[in-house]
Amino acid sequence: MADKLFYFLTFLALLSALMVVFSRNPIHSVLYLILTFFTLSGHYVLLNAQFIAAVNIIVYAGAIMVLFLFVVMFLNLRSETQEKTSILSKVASVTAAGLLMVVLVAALKDVNLGTVQATPDFDSQVGMVEQLGKVLFSKFLLPFELASVLFLAAMVGAVMLGRREPGEQNTF
């Protein structure tokens, strides 16, 4: 059952990721990206990483994608403004991405990662809030606090960038 669910979620995630890249309308790209994030959350649930699954929904599908959708609608982009890319550069970029895929698969295909042993002391609770919180607030306390400084800097930066210059025309 779980393996069928894995294949289904994988298929859906790859398909919607491709649609993000290839759909003409940016709003469709945003919606497909939200679908991708939900399938990835499904993967996290399968892996028993429930905290990450919830955070993925709340932060990515909730906050970040709302921001994207807001900007797309704010800019009022029309989908008929076709991107004029030359055939040569398209072929070159697809070839480059394909070669990257080939190199990565060739490097990883013979790797031996071992199998999961069904030992009695197998810890299936690593993804739970309790264990993650213990690690986060002991071993990673300093990075956790520094993340708040990062958010402050990002907030100040976004406000600075979004501010209208004195004398600038009100264009929207």
């Binding site: 894995f6 790859l14 996290y44 028993n48 994207f68 999961v116 993804g127 690690v135 993340a147 990062l150």
Partner: protein, 108 residues
């Protein structure tokens, strides 16, 4: 304790290849598209491919440090998105377009 079913039936290599494919799709988006917003979304796809691989290794190896890293990556991505979208809105305000090709006028 009980092993989650997916770990018994799906080898870890499959997650490796799935994440690789997702990452390559993100690279493809960055290379082929010229809309700055779609390029930004492709970067998010690449970040998520890495997140999934970290989480799967962490679950298979029963080490919660990997999932803490995923948490930090998400925090940094959120900060990155706010600044990046502010820059894109600024670009649109100045050029009336978010085609990255127009930005070659930044050349000195």
């Amino acid at each position: 304790m009980q092993i989650p079913e997916v770990m018994r039936t799906v080898p870890l290599e499959y997650y490796l290849f799935f994440s690789t494919a997702l990452f390559v799709i993100g690279v493809l988006g960055v290379l082929t598209r010229r809309n700055a917003l779609v390029i930004f979304m492709s970067v998010e796809l690449m970040l998520n491919a890495v997140n999934l691989l970290l989480a799967s290794f962490s679950s298979y190896r029963q080490d919660s440090v990997g999932q803490v890293f995923v948490f930090f990556i998400m925090a940094v991505a959120a900060a990155e998105v706010t600044v990046g979208l502010a820059i894109i809105v600024m670009i649109y305000r100045n050029t009336k377009s978010i085609d990255v090709q127009l930005l070659n006028r930044l050349k000195g």
